[in-house]
């Protein structure tokens, strides 16, 4: 009887071990990871020198596996690297750093709109649409959460009019406009 109980407990132990191992490897939080923060810090310089390619982000990609937001951000960074959009990579690394450091996800419809126009320019229509949809979803959250500084009204009109223009079938934007969208404060 005792022996059966020991075997049962041992079996239970193995099952729980495997379940926890599987859960843990997939859902381990990356928030607070010094390794990722250091990796991001180290990438700033090559990005500054415009000396990055897809492979430059392999380690970051591996380190953020299993975290939906972070891995999505890294995929976006890689797509931007492939298009040689270096300044926008810098933004992405900044957002990723904030997320890994604090767990906070920045709400940036302006930034998402800038990526919409960039990916559209490079013929990456699926990525463009993804960014547009996210921009629309985030717009109301941004309005209620963003700091109402002196630029708020201008930025609000900029995003609002752009979304309306796109809705009406006009997806053109100058480089200056794209830069202006990218610089809009996040919530």
């Amino acid at each position: 009887m005792k022996r059966k109980l020991i075997f049962a407990l041992a079996f239970l132990f193995v099952v729980i071990f495997l379940v926890l191992f599987s859960f843990n490897s997939k859902h381990k939080s990356i928030v607070g990871s010094k390794e990722i923060l250091n990796e991001i810090d180290g990438l700033l310089l090559p990005v500054y020198h415009q000396n990055v390619a897809e492979s430059s982000f392999s380690k970051l990609q591996k380190l953020t596996e299993g975290d939906a937001y972070a891995s999505g951000e890294v995929s976006e960074i890689i797509a931007l690297a492939n298009e040689k959009e270096y300044s926008h990579i810098g933004h992405g690394l900044g957002f990723l750093h904030e997320y890994v450091q604090t767990g906070k996800i920045s709400i940036c419809p302006g930034h998402l709109l800038s990526h919409y126009y960039i990916f559209l320019k490079h013929g990456e229509n699926n990525l463009a649409i993804e960014n547009l949809e996210s921009a629309k979803e985030n717009f109301d959250i941004w309005k209620s959460g963003v700091k109402k500084d002196s630029d708020y009204g201008i930025n609000l009109n900029l995003i609002d009019s752009s979304l309306k223009r796109i809705e009406a079938g006009n997806s053109t934007a100058s480089e200056d406009e794209i830069d202006a969208f990218a610089e809009i404060l996040c919530a």
Binding site: K2, I16, L44
Partner: protein, 135 residues
Amino acid sequence: MKNKKGQIAIIAVVAILLIAVGFFFFWNPGNTSAKAVSNDNGNVVGNSENARIINIDAEKFQYSPSMIKVKKGEHVKIAINNVDFNHGMVIPELGLSGIDSIEFTADKAGTFDFRCPTPCGSGHREMTGTLVVEE
């Protein structure tokens, strides 16, 4: 006697089980502390309790103070307070970069520019400062 052995075995199994549960929920290899390493330029970078901390504010489109003076051989940590955006800092000539801090041993005397690595607006290019490493 046999009964006692069985009880000990059960307790051991339960204890191992509890340790395993704790291990998998609380151990996170991503949160290990960074060790001191060298960058491509040979500067010692990384975490150290002996570093002199220099606080600097980074705000569109300036660093305050915009000039930092350190002694050659000094181990310093520039702690960046990003006020409105994750500006960070790069010191290209020394091969150093970081979002909220840069730590290194100033083993090369001279004057080095530092700048904002994350494009932050129309004045981004002017967001610069100077690190002076004195003999």
